[in-house]
Symmetry: C2
Subunit: 302 residues, 2 copies
Amino acid sequence: MSLLVVGTVAFDAIETPFAKTDKIIGGAATYICHSASFFSKNINLVSVVGEDFPNKAINSLKEKGVDVKGLQIKEGRKTFFWSGKYHNNMNSRDTLKTELNVLEDFDPIVPKQYTKSEFLMLGNLMPSVQKRVLEQMQERPKLIVLDTMNFWMDNFMPDLKEALKNTDVLTINDDEARQLSGEYSLLIAAKKILTMGPKYLIIKKGEHGAILFGEDKMFYSPAVMLENVIDPTGAGDSFAGGFIGYLAKTKEITFDNMKKAVVYGTVLASFTVEKLGIESIENIEEEKVNKRLAEIRSVVSF
Amino acid sequence: MSLLVVGTVAFDAIETPFAKTDKIIGGAATYICHSASFFSKNINLVSVVGEDFPNKAINSLKEKGVDVKGLQIKEGRKTFFWSGKYHNNMNSRDTLKTELNVLEDFDPIVPKQYTKSEFLMLGNLMPSVQKRVLEQMQERPKLIVLDTMNFWMDNFMPDLKEALKNTDVLTINDDEARQLSGEYSLLIAAKKILTMGPKYLIIKKGEHGAILFGEDKMFYSPAVMLENVIDPTGAGDSFAGGFIGYLAKTKEITFDNMKKAVVYGTVLASFTVEKLGIESIENIEEEKVNKRLAEIRSVVSF
């Protein structure tokens, strides 16, 4: 089994009602890799950074078994930087600053030894870049999961719809599901989205859990109830990493196994939001993961 | 077993993105009684209406086994009227008009034969009125469930806190739980509220489900996913009616049995929102209820 992860590796600066950071390590692929590495030590990364990106952060990925041959390091250039401010309810945020830097002209080059990866996670990125990765795969992966966001729907909808045609699982939040489908009811929205390409759809609802649709079935996982949410950044990426990591490990692409993958994704995301940046997802303990999985199972049983 | 329901019987006028009504039958106690009657034909109602309130609506309650000796009909006066407009997302609403009418000086008189009711549902009402009912009970009911809302927290918090001291189960929504506790985390909010009197707390989250807290345990029920939500009015009341109706029928006041009561409440509320006013909850079919219960069980199992 091999898992290819494509997405941003970046600097973030985050402001929440409880904390404010300078530039810290972030990026969708960073969260995805750390989260997926809980299940798999055979992860290939395709991304880009500038020469200002610290070796320490790259080494931290390597230590988790992430192969970084596909991580381009652009000399004389700067790493993608995003800065955002979360509102009081932590469910919405404003982007304060986006410096694309190396992302501006990012051409994802998939190293030859990655082009037969069985599992492909296309993290939140410009849809045309996601498509460029798909085109380089020598064999169609067994499972392609694509994450995206409202920004790409606002500005690159045709490209996104094109990328979706080759996707197996799409992960988006509830507002994005409504935007993509033009339907308010999530049930109707899901039906519509499942005609656009993806065979499975996961609607992430933050503190309200996540819903998996596909094969005319539905599965719902509540979120882990937390006393302290410090920083929601990367929650969706950690979810996606846990989801595809579990599937890559177990190799069983069925609705039943995806349910468990959704719960694992939910659990891994719950750790991410408890600390700033990747601090928590970088240091996951198996015992704690199993405890939260058991909590979710118990909280819904009647 | 006997169940006493106290709450408003009223006229509503409702505006949603999909519909607009003239005066239709509404009121918390109306929804609660219809919903609870799915489980029990031994319901006593204490409320008040004006002479303008149609006999037909009273007879519809009687047909469900609701005893209306405690329903005061005030000659020469008008029934409580509320009019509201739901926003596009159906999760929030503005009150357009409130005519208290007979509610202005409502003195709830509990008929002697009701004063030993074993189950008491205090529907959303002025807290001092809820307290007046409690004072008239000859024997403390086995279970007292109290529903309330932000309006009473804004204007009558001391009275509400007084009423809570004698409550077993409090049902409120997530915003109200935050307002009542002053805490943002629902987990911390719940802990705090459970020191105010109630032994159990149910936080209703609308389309995002409901959470039961108590005995240091937690239970979560997702809402039924619906293609069409027409009118959310009375959803919380239908939930409360289903919850206490099921407990009154089964008579087992344990956390485990309350879980099932929460799921039944969730299912009954799901019917209410699919049609305008009480149209749906007035005509509940057992088969459909059982089907939705099975759906909830299946959607969370992994």
